[in-house]
């Protein structure tokens, strides 16, 4: 069942086209990977879905509702939450209070919000740092905080912008497990990522973007052996060689 439909999404900044006629569908409980070289337009796509940019063209339909051009808070209210590539914790608040801010999206009062926040923290296995201040925690913890906060909103669809950026391999493995766990609990995820190992192991389906356009879509194996993908990352001469299936 399609939970998100993106049709002909286009965004221009002055003379530069950042996203050009992008379309894809997302099914419930999927994990979709969005990859591509820097500047391909991935974060711009996120920003358009989440309401931070207004598309110049195209539509975004979430759960059969047209959310194109809605303000970010309205988008969140409909059930789409996002994390940021460069984390944005509320520095002056505790981790728990940070997550509570998200929790208020579903809660009717502070006590309820606190409960929901605790649950989110426990899901992320972050409960032991609940009292730490936003400015005290390190980068991987900030990533966890963003995740917990987004979870607490009760959003059905989570847009995760480079959740692995800044993490060392062991930390990444941990987050991958968390993301799988969240997915199994029913959340749909779209993940922008650069680390191919992560993408391969986490995302059953990938979209590769380059220079504002969708190049390839398919399973990780399909995408990686596609000559267009190789061209995008490595240049044409590599694509000319015989493609081998990637493991």
């Amino acid at each position: 069942m399609a939970i998100l439909e993106v049709n002909n999404l286009t965004k221009r900044f002055g003379g530069l086209t950042a996203v050009n006629d992008l379309s894809f569908t997302l099914n419930e409980s999927e994990i979709l990977g969005l990859i591509g070289p820097n500047g391909a337009g991935k974060t711009t796509v996120f920003n358009m879905i989440a309401g931070f940019y207004k598309p110049d063209n195209g539509r975004v339909v979430f759960q059969d509702q047209d959310i194109t051009g809605l303000k970010p808070y309205e988008v969140c209210r409909r059930g789409v939450a996002r994390t940021f590539q460069v984390t944005k914790p509320f520095l002056d608040s505790t981790v728990l209070n940070n997550v509570m801010v998200g929790a208020f999206m579903q809660a009717h009062n502070a006590a309820e919000a606190r409960d929901i926040a605790w649950k989110a923290l426990e899901t992320i296995e972050f409960g032991d740092r609940a009292d730490a201040m936003g400015h005290e925690i390190n980068v991987p913890d900030r990533k966890r905080l963003e995740l917990a906060r987004a979870l607490a909103t009760g959003a059905k669809l989570l847009l995760l912008d480079e959740p692995m950026a800044g993490l060392i391999p062991s930390e990444k493995g941990h987050i991958i497990d968390l993301l799988r766990k969240i997915n199994q609990e029913g959340f749909t995820l779209v993940v922008v990522e650069h680390d191919m190992k992560v993408v391969m192991s986490l995302c059953p389906r990938i979209i590769l973007m380059d220079r504002a356009m969708k190049l390839v879509e398919g399973t990780p194996e399909e995408v990686c052996s596609d000559p267009k993908a190789i061209t995008a990352y490595l240049g044409e001469e590599y694509a000319a060689r015989d493609p081998e299936p990637r493991r």
Partner: protein, 346 residues
């Protein structure tokens, strides 16, 4: 530990309040000191009300306008239409809220310094208008003369908010200050306070979590305007006089800002603490040095403000809180308890 601290805090608050209630009787022979306390409470009230806007992340440099609007509304209603200020003060709050809507709606989304300048400019416009205008339609503003409160029964008429001695004013001012600080504290524990903190910390992140920043900032602003206006009525009734020259002055706005910033302008108790420090200093300076050193107390204001910004950007509030906590640790016996989730620091 938190359980213990919380109960200590409340005990301390109750203790301080109890003392505060006795003071006017103890100082009956020294009305000047009672006067200073009243000023502390008045400015503590005004700055805390102003601070609500600060909690949502904006700094208003024109809040004196709302003091004036409140005082003018209730006083004109009393002088020309016989309405008791006890009712008039709420009319004043409504008027202030309307102006707050006009001022706030276009300006709150501006970046910090531009919002500050815009409120300053609005304040100047309104003040200039009132100082230079006699009649606004059927309403007699009396221009630069200001409004001199007519005394009823020689100034002893509780029904119209006039009292013969300072003591009732003391209690009213105290009650108002305590109420507004309590309100601020309670709001902080709800969704509203949580959202305000989020907006001022990182508006983009807040919006991505479903917060309509514009609406919550406007709420803070309107609430602040209404409460400030109530303080304006207290001003008019206590001083028996209000005029735009002083009541809507930039200097008053700056004083409110100063008190708030020195105490800690984005906290609940900060402005109140700021008032407790600044007002007595300034009054005593004014009394001791008198006319020969005109400007000294404002100069000291300036030095204090600069010092706070440079070295204590969060104001005196954290220091005071830490001091109280230290005191609490010394007075209460140590027994470690489970760390429970607590609200973010005040």
């Amino acid at each position: 530990m938190k359980q213990r601290s919380i109960s200590f805090n409340w005990m301390a608050v109750a203790f301080v309040l109890a003392i505060a209630m006795i003071i006017p009787f103890v100082l009956e022979k020294h009305p000047y000191y009672v006067h200073i306390f009243i000023l502390v409470f008045l400015f503590g009230y005004l700055s805390t009300a102003w601070g609500l806007v600060g909690q949502s992340g904006q700094l208003s440099f024109g809040h004196a306008v709302f003091v004036g609007l409140g005082g003018y509304t209730s006083t004109i209603l009393f002088m020309d239409y016989g309405v008791t200020p006890w009712v008039g003060m709420f009319a004043g709050a409504i008027v202030a809220t309307l102006f707050g809507l006009i001022i706030g709606y276009p300006t709150l989304r501006l970046r910090g310094p531009y919002f500050a300048l815009s409120t300053l400019v609005f304040g100047l416009i309104l003040q200039t208008y009132v100082v230079n205008t006699q009649m606004l339609g059927p309403i007699n503003l009396r221009g630069a003369m200001g409004l001199l409160l007519p005394l009823k029964n020689g100034g002893d008429a509780p029904a119209v908010f006039q009292f013969a001695t300072k003591t009732p004013y003391y209690f009213i001012a105290l009650a108002m200050m305590v109420s507004v600080v309590l309100l601020s504290y309670l709001l902080n524990r709800t969704r509203i306070g949580s959202y305000w903190t989020a907006i001022r910390s990182d508006q983009e992140a807040a919006e991505s979590l479903g917060i309509n920043a514009g609406r919550y900032r406007l709420l803070a602003f309107l609430l602040s305007c209404a409460l400030t206006a109530l303080g304006g009525t207290l001003w008019a009734q206590y001083f028996h006089y209000i005029n735009a020259e002083r009541g809507m002055a930039l200097s008053l706005s700056i004083e409110i800002v100063l008190v708030g910033v020195v105490g800690g302008w984005q906290t609940v108790s900060g402005p109140m603490i700021g008032a407790m420090i600044i007002i007595p200093i300034s009054e005593l300076l004014r009394a001791q040095l008198g006319g020969g050193f005109a400007g000294l107390h404002t100069l000291i204001y300036g030095l204090i403000l600069m010092g706070v910004i440079l070295w204590l950007p969060k104001g005196l509030n954290p220091l005071v809180m830490r001091g109280l906590k230290w005191l609490g640790d010394r007075l209460w016996s140590t027994s470690p308890s489970v760390r429970t989730p607590e609200d973010s620091g005040r």
